[in-house]
Symmetry: C2
Subunit: 151 residues, 2 copies
DNA sequence: TCGTTATTAAATATTATTCGCAATAATACA
DNA sequence: TGTATTATTGCGAATAATATTTAATAACGA
């Protein structure tokens, strides 16, 4: 399950002229141990770390999340109005997608192997190097449908 | 092509206790006439309208974009860091997806009928009312691959 | 072990988006 | 067709997520 060890993360970083820091290691650790279906915002990650006694500045958290998303280690998700959420980017058997209620932000994860295949094929066709591939279904959940009208 | 006339937009709005205003009509008009492959941010739409002599406040633009996205008339896309883009939400034959370079934001549109089917099926299965279904492929384009390292 | 330089924490800046409000105008209905 | 109701607008101000600047620190390669 745990794709990156300290050593492999270091290699991945050093390859690009970057450095392995305790902060980066800790943050990746958190995402690797996060329960399935959980997603964290920068703020939430900050709070979680504080709770564990880890003192990592919010700036560093923002920088690290962005860096790791661009490396393909994390997925950057738009699951709520106003801020991003992150989760570990897992390959094939764990790869999944999101069904989202635009009113209450209820999120359901689902798997579908076809989508990743389509995405990989398309990226390859255009010569892009694939980082992530995410289907987001914007919809209205059953309970929000019942609670009619109000936006 | 033009899915909504003034009359049908009015009906759609009034059904929910909302009103048809010249501003809403104008904004939907712009998106319906937008060239294939073009996406607009709130700011860009504002500038475009100004250029045409239409004076619609930025507040109204933000409100309208959000409203229409939640109605399913527009698609809200995350194609760049920091701000959203919008396009008209077209059904089946025009429905498409995006391949995006996370470094330079180069965007390629592509079609795939399977994805919409998967999305519809999943939404139905969970009792959600589908608004939009978008596959976003995060990747690195060929020229950014060549321009190595720099983030 | 040392020098170089990427990274950090903290404070500050930026900027997309929202909100409060008073004025206006779309709609329902008499 | 006129009137009352209230959703919507434009403006300015507020908010909040994220970026940036800086000096101090600490990884890394030699
Ligand atoms: Mn997920
Ligand atoms: Mn598009
Ligand atoms: Zn809901
Ligand atoms: Zn690029």
């Amino acid at each position: 399950m745990s794709l990156y060890t300290a050593a492999s993360l270091k290699a991945e970083l050093n390859d690009r002229g970057w450095r392995l820091t305790p902060q980066r290691q800790t943050i990746l650790q958190v995402f690797q141990n996060l329960a399935r279906g959980k997603h964290l915002s920068a703020e939430e990650l900050h709070d979680l770390l504080q709770g564990e006694g880890e003192q990592i500045s919010l700036s560093t958290i923002y920088r690290t999340l962005k860096l790791m998303a661009r490396m393909g280690l994390l997925r950057e998700l738009e699951l709520a109005e106003g801020h991003k959420h992150y989760e570990i980017n897992q390959p094939y058997p764990y790869h999944h997608h999101h069904l989202l209620c635009v009113r209450c932000n209820k999120t359901i994860e689902f798997k579908n192997d076809t989508i990743l295949k389509i995405g990989s094929k398309q990226a390859k066709k255009d010569g892009f190097h694939l980082l992530d591939c995410q289907l987001t279904i914007h919809a209205i959940c059953p309970s929000c449908q019942r609670a009619l009208l109000p936006v």
